[in-house]
């Protein structure tokens, strides 16, 4: 069930009403059932996978809690990781690996046919696998006590607002909330409702509108010239931000109405002044996951400079691979890793200037670098990405407009988005900001704009494919 589907608009209010009507001690059971119902709406059979992942990590953590022997504990953790990532590998990476191997061997005139798996990628598999594996690692490092209640743990893995596209929650944050008594909190519910409205605006008004232009350009790159490709790439930067940021806002908002606090996932990423700053603001739940479970175990900052740089590159390459089984994502991750390393090398030589002008230059230059990496993220394959870069520098001509609605409605959405992000980033205090009428008018306007210029046909969330 998509957040921007009519089904979800019916599903969520019904869940909320029943949730608050039933006694507190049964609420987690109801949420668990609702979460599985939500997931099974896509492909019922794949609920088995999420259950399997839940069962494996629960069992391993249960044993980890009992066993004191370090070697056995290590074996248990490795078993949990291998089994979980094994499922992920089979569904997401097996065909990519065999295709890459086939092409590599074919280059040397060796033709080996590997068995093919034609399986549909289960929605959100990367998200819940990482969340479940994170739990196992936390229990292994004694950061958290094993959750005895299998049902509550199953709810942690399958909690519907964040099940299919995050935020990738930590057990230390979310799991204890399922055991607390939830009392309806007016302020939280209002905050959640506002986040949901803003999330829908980002998704259907901005992301889905810009995607029409981006898709038409990136699916026919040979036909397009420099100005068109530049505009499409800039649009894609905002499309992916609004798509994923919008989804996160809806997820966090829904959880808030139900009385739960999920972690912030996006913090106005295009205001970043450098690449590391960008990764502190973009997909925060995934960045911190990689930091805690990949970068730090590799040695983090407590190693030689060379090793640290290598760790950064490895972490970002893995992050790229997490996003998709395609070399474009690996290159995208690699480029981001290189930017991090370059920043770390030059950081000591940086002249510290901080005024509005230098801040703006830093923000724009970071945006250009990040947007450059998005070319690889969006292109259908590596050759297309190279072609885009070539055409940007060599193929001149007039801008392709396509459907004028994209530009008109897209710009309306973008202007509202940018104004709101500037307002939030600069923490402006306006004299009328606490005026209730203005607040309600703002959210009513957003809702009307969603109805008037939102894109209702099609439009899956980009991050579902991961």
């Amino acid at each position: 069930m998509l957040f921007n589907s009519f089904n979800y608009l019916l599903f969520f209010p019904v869940v909320c009403v029943i949730y608050y009507l039933i006694p507190n001690k049964f609420r987690w059971v109801f949420l668990l059932l609702a979460s599985y119902f939500f997931y099974m709406n896509w492909e019922p059979i794949y609920a088995i996978l999420i259950f399997l992942s839940t069962f494996i990590t629960y069992l391993c953590a249960f044993k980890l809690d009992k066993v004191k022997d370090i070697k056995v504990r290590k074996v248990l953790l490795i078993a949990s990781i291998i089994l979980n990532f094994g499922i992920l590998f089979l569904f997401k990476y097996y065909n990519f690996l065999t295709d890459s191997l086939f092409n590599f061997l074919n280059y040397f005139n060796i033709r080996v046919r590997f068995p093919e798996f034609k399986l549909l990628l289960p929605v959100g598999i990367s998200f819940y696998t990482f969340q479940a594996v994170g739990y196992s690692i936390d229990v292994y490092y004694n950061k958290l006590k094993h959750e005895n209640n299998f049902g509550k743990y199953a709810l942690f893995v399958s909690f519907f607002p964040q099940l299919v596209a995050g935020p990738i929650e930590r057990a230390t944050n979310l799991l204890p909330q399922f055991s607390k008594e939830i009392v309806f909190n007016y302020a939280k519910a209002i905050e959640g409702t506002k986040l949901i409205i803003w999330g829908y605006f980002m998704k259907v008004v901005v992301a889905d509108r810009l995607s029409i232009y981006v898709d038409s350009v990136y699916n026919n790159i040979n036909m397009h010239n420099s100005p068109t490709l530049i505009i499409a790439t800039i649009f894609f930067a905002f499309q992916i931000y609004c798509d994923f940021g919008g989804y996160s806002n809806i997820a966090i908002g829904c959880a808030k109405i139900l009385g739960f606090d999920l972690m912030t996932n996006f913090c106005r990423p295009y205001f970043a002044k450098n690449c590391p700053d960008f990764w502190h603001r973009w997909h925060i739940s995934l960045s911190t996951w990689f930091k805690d479970y990949v970068y730090i175990p590799l040695g983090g900052n407590r190693v030689s400079k060379k090793q640290k740089y290598l760790n950064l590159i490895i972490t970002f390459l893995v992050s790229g691979l997490w996003h998709g089984a395609n070399w474009t994502f690996v290159i995208w991750g690699g480029l981001n890793g290189i930017f991090q390393v370059v920043y770390s090398i030059f950081k000591p030589f940086r002249i510290k200037l901080s005024n509005r002008f230098t801040n703006l230059i830093q923000i724009i230059s970071t945006f250009i670098l990040i947007d450059f990496t998005w070319i690889f993220f969006r292109a259908n394959n590596s050759a297309d990405a190279i072609k885009v870069i070539q055409n940007i520098f060599t193929k001149h001509g007039p801008l392709f407009f396509g459907d004028n609605k994209v530009f008109i409605y897209g710009f309306i959405g973008l202007i509202i988005l940018i104004i709101k992000d500037i307002y939030d980033e600069c923490s402006f205090t306006l004299t009328f900001e606490n005026n209730k009428i203005i607040k309600y008018t703002w959210y009513a306007t957003l809702t009307i704009l969603i109805l008037m210029i939102g894109v209702f046909d099609g439009g899956q969330f980009i991050y579902f494919q991961f």
């Binding site: 009519f6 089904n7 608050y20 309806f184 007016y186 519910a189 209002i190 409702t193 004028n404 609605k405 008109i408 409605y409 309600y440 959210y443 009513a444 809702t447 009307i448 109805l451 008037m452 210029i453 939102g454 894109v455 209702f456 046909d457 099609g458």
Partner: protein, 302 residues
């Protein structure tokens, strides 16, 4: 919780009021359109009384020169072809037309495939403004999604993403622009010329047939047969080569079963050997449309 529900209910009523007022305004100006795509849809559904009607997608819209047809047949004609709208739209327009009158001749430009495509269902959005006023369209519109009738409680929803088109359609300048382009009774010629060489395209050998599309196509034929309207189905020229097209095979088979004339121009060398007649691989330009319309005149006359 009571306070929250109170706020939600009050907000809902305020939004419903805004939705009603804005929706009514949009509907008013939508129907006031005097030119453009939306006007052509309304005109096709509600006003045309032409003897010869041309149905199809953008290919029909740009390929069948109404002026040439009218001049050589001495009958009135109208081109209902609409960009990106396939068999569902065409059947819907025919249903509305037949409620009002019986045309003397119908040409259907077959441009489709019987394969499932979500876009074809999404394209039914263009009929949403007529849901409440045209009962004959309800079944087709509801193919879009089972929730469509509930979504239509919103008065703005039928006009989603149409604001600029409604504004432009109400401007006189748009009318002049259409006339200057050579647009005439629904026919809109394309002026650019294709520059690239011809390609060979692989068409799927077989696919699962979308039963809704298949039924809509059959319904179109059935409606014409019931009213004894002579129907000709045409696959107009394309600028690519292919070995076999499963969709054309199905179309031709249906036509054979129903005794409907089917003309396939996709391999006509007059067009395949002259890229100057095309605006792109799927669309003829003004010169191409002129040549093509003249070619099919003999079939229209009969």
């Amino acid at each position: 919780m009571k306070k929250y529900f109170k706020i939600i209910i009050i907000s809902f009523f305020i939004l419903a009021l805004c939705d009603y007022l804005i929706g009514k305004g949009l509907n008013f100006y939508y129907l006031k359109n005097t030119s453009g795509l939306l006007y052509r849809t309304t005109y096709s559904l509600d006003s045309t009384k032409a003897d010869i009607l041309i149905f199809g997608s953008s290919r029909a819209n740009h390929h069948y020169n109404v002026k040439i047809i009218e001049d050589s047949t001495n009958l009135s004609a109208y081109n209902t072809g609409s960009d990106g709208h396939y068999i569902f739209y065409q059947t819907a327009v025919l249903k509305s037309v037949l409620k009002r009158y019986t045309p003397k001749k119908i040409i259907l430009d077959f441009n489709g495939t019987f394969e499932f495509s979500q876009q074809d269902y999404d394209a039914l959005s263009c009929l949403l403004p007529y849901y409440r006023t045209h009962n004959e369209l309800k079944d087709l519109i509801e193919l879009k999604s089972p929730f469509e009738k509930y979504k239509l409680f919103s008065k703005i929803y039928p006009f989603n993403s149409l604001l600029t088109t409604i504004i432009i359609g109400n401007l006189e300048i748009n009318k002049f622009r259409s006339v200057n382009k050579g647009a005439y009774k629904g026919f809109v010629p394309l002026t650019n010329t294709w520059e690239y060489n011809i390609n060979i395209i692989d068409k799927p050998e077989k696919y699962n047939i979308d039963k809704h599309k298949y039924n809509a196509f059959n319904d179109f034929i059935k409606l014409c047969n019931e009213k004894n309207i002579p129907l000709t189905i045409i696959y107009s020229p394309v600028y690519f080569k292919y070995n076999k097209d499963y969709s054309i095979d199905i179309c031709s088979e249906i036509c054979r079963k129903n005794n409907v004339t089917f003309l396939d121009y996709s391999k006509d060398t007059d067009f395949l050997n002259n890229k100057k007649l095309f605006a792109d691989t799927y669309h003829l330009n003004k010169s191409g449309a002129q040549l093509f319309t003249q070619k099919i005149l003999q079939f229209i006359k009969h």
